[in-house]
Point group: C2
Chain length 200, copies 2
């Protein structure tokens, strides 16, 4: 052993991320470990540290891919006609993504950096881009409104849809005997926007 060079650094990285994604998708965040990923790709743990800074970094890289996939999904909703319909399509797309990949989606929001370590800039930028998509869809709906109100509305709808997805994905909705998430997303967006447009 030692000095195998069966795979380039990039290939190693790709293999590790795929294996890790697989574990999370099938068994969830807490089943993920460096040792399992190493075994899955046929290397020892030590090798992973040649490719990732540490476990946090590995998780962050998976989350980055999840965020990119989510972006791609939301981009499809941007084909909808401008207006409330497009905002609704975004909400449904978000819910669809969350319910189809519940474990990867949850990891994005549950992972916490080791105390003190801030999220890297490129990560914050990916999140900001998602907010931007919602703001853009909202602009035509609230075109006569001041900018801060648009920002507030985008965040209310975003976090509202996010909260609904969470309760749906963690099965806290059905536990309490509830309409399906899609109905809640629709009610939230339609009524909230109606209220906003009806107000002064």
């Amino acid at each position: 052993m030692a000095r195998r060079s069966d795979h380039s650094r990039d290939e190693l990285r790709e293999m590790a991320l795929n294996a890790a994604e697989d574990i999370v998708a099938k068994e969830g965040y807490f089943a993920l470990s460096t040792r399992r990923v190493a075994t899955a790709i046929g290397y020892t743990v030590g090798t992973l540290y040649l490719v990732f800074r540490n476990f946090d970094d590995l998780i962050l890289q998976i989350n980055a891919r999840t965020l990119d996939a989510l972006s791609a999904r939301l981009a499809r909703a941007e084909g909808e006609p401008e207006g409330v319909a497009r905002v609704l399509a975004l909400g449904r797309a978000y819910l669809g993504f969350a319910t189809e990949r519940p474990r990867l989606w949850r990891m994005v929001f549950e992972h916490r950096m080791a105390a003190g370590a801030p999220l890297p800039d490129w990560y914050g930028e990916k999140v900001a881009r998602l907010f931007g998509v919602v703001e853009n869809a909202l602009r035509p709906v609230l075109q006569d409104r001041p900018d801060p109100e648009l920002m507030t509305a985008a965040r209310v709808i975003w976090s509202g849809v996010h909260g609904i997805c969470l309760l749906e994905v963690t099965e806290r909705l059905e536990a309490v005997g509830s309409p399906p998430g899609a109905a809640l997303v629709e009610s939230l967006i339609v009524q909230y926007l109606r209220g906003l447009r009806a107000s002064a």
Copy 2:
């Protein structure tokens, strides 16, 4: 050693839960371990297993206390005059609780049972009771509406407020340059209810 009987089972339980709460409150979910709790109360790990079924059970017991504290906090908001004001008070109380005890609050929603093990009944009942508080506050506001609509509204508002708390507590709001959570909670509740009442 062995056979100390310095403390009754109940005292042991109480001491362990207090120590564990302290660790979570100060350092978060991931700093919690059976060994740390044991050390903090001056016993060995083995002793904890005389009082808790396992680590999951210990966490569940802490979460139960957090849910009770949350219930108590929301109960105070029930003193507000009936109507939108009371719903708003509930939303603010929820946000207040989440921001004051961010780490304990998060643990309630992030903890997952070991694969397959369902949440115990008494736990589901505590959550259902919280939903009930929101439904009750909403009833006078939507008194002319059919029951399913009330349920939907309660869940939309609950998960919306929850989502706002999450983004606030995990600092994903300020990262993206946002109005404070309280403004979002108010916008959500006021405009959503306005929309609902304006509709047919």
